[in-house]
């Protein structure tokens, strides 16, 4: 296999740290399509991403990992599913300093329902140090109430190690999915048994 492209998506509300997370992984400076923030009432940030952030990592054999950050403002929601199409997985960044971070999470869980169904989604909660409520326990119970078992991690995306743990967790979910699919194929009628 050569020259294949893979992508993972970072999504979350405005200011949750999508651009920062991509910068921690990308071998090129993230390409950001920032514009003046027209929603200063909701978030004190001079600029925000209008289309998407982009970073990349080249691999041997011409393969490439593309890193996309979705626009945070809900009025760009139509782009989320477009960007997520064909993605390996999605990392949702939740800003715990916002008024109702669980409601924020609900928006992303609903809008990325197709990805949620594949099991390749990880949730990162930021600013827990300064805004400990709701706690991770509450997030897990919120997910359990919806019959969802999704990994939730506390993460400060300014720390590269935190971003790497998020990626490691997402990759583990993807690997489990791929292996389960391979084994299902191997067990299908007519398939050869074992290697």
């Amino acid at each position: 296999m050569s020259g294949h492209e893979y992508k993972i998506i970072f999504t979350g509300t405005m200011g949750a740290g999508k651009t920062t997370a991509i910068a921690a992984l990308s071998e090129i400076p993230p390409v950001s399509t920032d514009v003046p923030n027209s929603d200063l009432g909701a978030f004190q940030k001079a600029t925000t991403t209008a289309a998407f952030d982009y970073g990349e990592l080249t691999l041997d054999g011409g393969n490439r990992l593309r890193l996309y950050g979705t626009p945070g403002q809900e009025r760009f929601r139509f782009m989320w599913s477009i960007l997520a199409r064909g993605a390996l997985g999605v990392i949702v960044l939740v800003d715990n300093s916002r008024p109702d971070p669980l409601a924020d999470l609900g928006i992303y869980i609903d809008n990325f329902a197709d990805v949620v169904a594949t099991g390749c989604l990880t949730i990162a909660v930021g600013r827990l140090d300064t805004h400990p409520d709701p706690s991770l326990d509450v997030y897990y119970e919120w997910l359990l109430a919806r019959d969802l078992a999704i990994p939730v991690l506390a993460a400060d995306v300014r720390r590269r190690d935190d971003v790497l743990v998020l990626v490691d967790t997402l990759f583990s979910l993807i690997e489990a999915k791929v292996i389960a699919a391979e084994e299902a194929d191997a067990m299908a009628p007519g398939a050869a048994v074992g290697d």
Binding site: M1, H4, Y6, L25, L57, L59, D60, N63, L65, L88, D100, L102, A103, G106, G119, P132, D133, P134, S135, L136, D137, V138, Y140, E141, W142, L143, L144, A145, R146, D147, A149, I150, P151, V152, L153, L164, V165, V167, D168, T169, F171, S172, L173, I174, E175, A176, K177, V178, I179, A180, E182, E183, A186, M187, V193, G194, D195
Partner: protein, 340 residues
Amino acid sequence: MHASLITMADDRYNIALVGLRYHDRTLLRSLFRVIDGRTPQQWVVDPEAPAHVVIGDTTSPEMQGVPRPPKGPIVINMAANGRTDGADELRLARPIRVNDLVHVLALVGGRLASGATGMFRSNAGGAAPVTVREGELSGTLDSVLRTIVKRTDNNCYRITGDLPVLLVWPAEGRFATPLDNISLSRALAGTGQVHGEALGRDGPGWTLQPGSVRSLRDLLWLAGLHAADAPARFPAGSATRYRLTSWDILLAAPEGRSFISAGAHLQRNALTLDDLALRSGLPQRRLVALLSACELCGCLGVTHDASEMRAARRAATPKREHGVLGILRRIRERLGIEQS
């Protein structure tokens, strides 16, 4: 607090949350927003307004002052110990599930529509009192921990925030609590109650770095990892299959990070111990510790389905060098991520 008769004027009802743990309250507030539109009525939590409905732990002291219908509000019981107010009692079980909540609120809606009922005004209460006897604590988990703070601050433990987080700084770097006893830990996980000797300093313990912060569930997790009877409870070759039902402790405990890959496999499919070892590449000894810890923390589902086990035994060894698996391995290498 007072009770008074009212007549329903519209379909918007106020709910009081009484005698519940902090995160039950937070979760319920969020779920009322989630279910908005799924019941004919609208439910709100406004502590300043009289409540038509009380959701509470009927065994808690705060609930003792809540009158019952017809003078009082409709009560939904969330007590964990199975004690009931009678055959007509409305209950909501933990863990709270959206469908259960919608169902019980539908029943409440029917009762509210059927006639007059009372209301309840709460003066936001503090933590439940703790029963303290010589060398023993008894009460809800939160209240026991709060008491531990008062009794031992600057000595051995301190609680931070609303979570049961213990800061451990014994001079000798040694840790000892009621959780040293694994059977006690298991009882604690099941009931949310603490009964037993408190703050025993001489029992067996885990050696922790002075100053390390560990949550109560971390300690349960550690107890599971070190459970002496784990190999007997999770034997190799068994048809029993396991599934991860929640990631919380696996990602919260420092020792859990090395099990992320195994956790991902356990989340996707219910697996036998042998299948899990095959997929994760981890030795069975470590996986037994993982299953034991997850069980103790209440995040392990167990099924016994021999037919699926037979099917799984035919599974091929993962081909990690090809396709997406190979790509992910190379990305990990590029980023310096060690396979978990």
